[in-house]
Amino acid sequence: MQSDLITSLYVFMLAAFIGFEVIRRVSPLLHTPLMSLTNALDAIAVVGAIILAGEHKSTLSTVLGTIAIVAATSNVVGGFIITDRMLKMFKASRPQKP
């Protein structure tokens, strides 16, 4: 358990560094879609909720897990839809019309 936690800390630290380096390079143009995308990624918490709801260990855990799936899934679906909608709007200049 203890060593798992340490491994997890390493993973967290490395991921945080990668996050900083990768996200610093995101153009300010795209900061709004960036936020909605990371929001959707964050909703990967749905995997924890799915196991919780499916394991059926107690009524409480099933109920909370089910609500948690609803919340996370709406973030996944909504987040991806709106990010893509926004990105579709970003177009480069076309060559001047004749």
């Binding site: 945080a16 089910t66 919340a71 899934t73 996944v76």
Partner: protein, 465 residues
Amino acid sequence: MTSVIVTDHVIEITYLIATVLFILSLKWMSSPSTARRGVFAAEIGMLLAVIGTLLHHGIVEYKWIAIALVIGSIIGVPLGEVAMTAVPQRTALSHAFGACCVTLVGTAEFYLRTPNVPRLMMGVLALEVILGSLTFTGSLMAAGKLQEILPQRPITYKGANIVNLSVLAIAVLLAGFLVAHPGNKALFPVIIAVPLLFGVLMIIPIGGADMPTVISLLNSYAGLSAAAMGFVLDSKLLIVAGALDGASGLILSINMSKAMNRSFTNVLFGAFGQEQSSAAGAQEARPVHSATAEEAAAILAAANKVVIVPGYGMAVAQAQHKVRELYDALSKRGVDVKFGIHPVAGRMPGHMNVLLAEADIPYDKLLDMDDVNSDFPQTDVALVIGANDVTNPAARTDASSPIFGMPILDVDKARTVMVIKRGMSPGFAGIDNPLYYLDNTLMLFGDAKAFVGAIVRELTGAGHS
């Protein structure tokens, strides 16, 4: 038995691929030309991870999972279809949903495991639910303010900071107590309730103009709470996703507070409202130069280089499509038109860019503050639409101004400045803007949408060719 082990390996591999795809998706977000590929990668990663999870041997009952996935999708679609002006409140709402998920899972895990929770794990679990629940109410409050269900102006009262900090301190102390006594079932609901209260109190004193910083900060909290959940469930995928989200939110909030020349503590604890009374006080009416749409159109048509500076007021007036027409009309006459965008223009980071992109303005014409500021001395006309404080030269020159030191768009260095404004009322921060009294400034009084429309009509013909 071996099939369980094989399945577990398969699940781990889907998680690993999902992690790689998530990192790649953020990397591809660096430029608009690859960004949509990034979303696609993230979608595939998410799908793989969810399918992998459904194979988990511990799952005995699929009914509720299926129902929840369907309901979640039904709620998600309209949340993905909101208008672009409503994206900030939608984002705040999704932070609340994310935090809700994390808090609920944390709560369930506590009651399943107590009293056999190792101390360290209890600490992480407490962190998860504290961050989760304060992000939940904080984000709901932020969404309410952005949607204008709640008052946008900061609400302050004497001793507010002391009250807020005490509430937070109570939450931390209770968490400490729970770490010492992980079997205390009765205490756990309190550890959720107190941060829920703190989330509300934290957002009450925050005004609309500070929303970009606050949304980013809540974004970061949501990410960190998800990472904490990853620790509790020992899920590396969740730790990575949470860390990426946390890092992204943190970078954005640092950017936003730099752009306002304020520290986090100042944004969270020093509601702007307190500073404004003195600044807005003794203003005598000073003369300004004003111009009509016809005069403005003539000056714009004669210019070589025009920089348009949009602010949130443009979005409020729904003027972005008229601005696009102006852009088209001027471009057709061979005028070089660019847009100068302050990092805190709008209600969340990058909001203005999305609104202009929606109006079909090419993204290579949208310049951020650092790029456009060097252009102003060579610019013939700087046209300010619905922006105020971010163009206030007092931020550079007047050490007594509340916004002194805030990086601004140097529109006053352009040959002519035009400001479209309803009247002479001060901006959000309640600070008078000396820009309006400069000799090279022309005030265009009127509604942004109507005025830009009138300029476009002058430019496109109505008689002259």
